[in-house]
Symmetry: C2
Subunit: 168 residues, 2 copies
């Protein structure tokens, strides 16, 4: 009993974010990014940008690729672009918003299904970036926030009010 | 001895991010944001934006306020804008880049000095947002990435190449 107490205190002390909370955190961001895709006029999603940057569809496909190949990589250590995952890469960018949203939702389920248990395990992500699991996942979340923030500027410059940042 | 092993395993199992790694993660983002401030032409920092949004100096002062008042709040539970912290609020936005950088560096030190130990403790941040410490800090980091991403668009639309996102 005393040991249980010590164990639980030690676990709480050394912990920043519970695994489920980190999953909720990312999925909350993904719900907001999904709202951003929905808020886009269909044509502008694929064509519009500012400062010579990629249109939002290109940025979204990058998020989809990182998450789809990434979650498979974390659970199998296979980081290759296999035939079954090609649909989640930029070279397979669909031409309709509804198809982007379908890919988005498939990846959302995949993240829920294969959420890691050990966040300290070291991976060579995409064969290039050596990091513990937590660092790899934080990078994907940060990358999504970074590019979605850029799409906020695109939308505002089109005269469209983006969904509030704090609503997930 | 066996108890130590169990304790350490339990701590590792329940942990996503070690406290020091979360601090490094934020400070890495802060170094990148500092590089963005440095990359800005002095006048554009205070005047230029796209889509009717705030200039980057306004966004940076929001980051400075959240971090300065926030770290004091997490360590003292006092979330008021006291006289000594007014310099870190938007109403005190300096008119020179070097003064923004000085405030930035002061807050960087403050974050190092008062990094929390208990990330599960509940706070009513700024008297409004009830959350465990980890959720509050994640929000500040996310908010910084979001607004800095917007400044990437501003800079690119000025024809200036921003520092690479992955270099911290």
């Amino acid at each position: 009993m005393e040991q249980d107490v010590i164990t639980s205190e030690a676990a709480t002390k050394g912990l920043t974010i519970p695994p489920d909370a980190l999953l909720d955190h990312w999925q909350g961001h993904r719900r907001l990014t999904r709202k951003m895709i929905e808020a886009y006029p269909e044509d502008k999603l694929f064509t519009y940008s500012v400062g010579g940057m990629r249109p939002f569809a290109g940025l979204v496909m990058e998020m989809i690729r990182l998450a789809a190949l990434g979650m498979r990589g974390l659970s199998t250590r296979n980081w290759e672009v296999t035939e079954d995952l090609k649909q989640y890469t930029e070279s397979a960018t669909p031409s309709r918003k509804e198809d982007i949203l379908r890919l988005w939702d498939e990846v959302t389920d995949q993240i829920d299904r294969s959420w890691p248990e050990d966040f300290q395990e070291i991976h060579l992500a995409f064969g290039q970036y050596e990091s513990p699991v937590f660092g790899i996942i934080l990078y994907w979340i940060d990358n999504e926030i970074h590019h979605r923030g850029q799409a906020y500027v695109y939308l505002r410059s089109l005269g469209i009010e983006p969904p509030p940042f704090w609503e997930r």
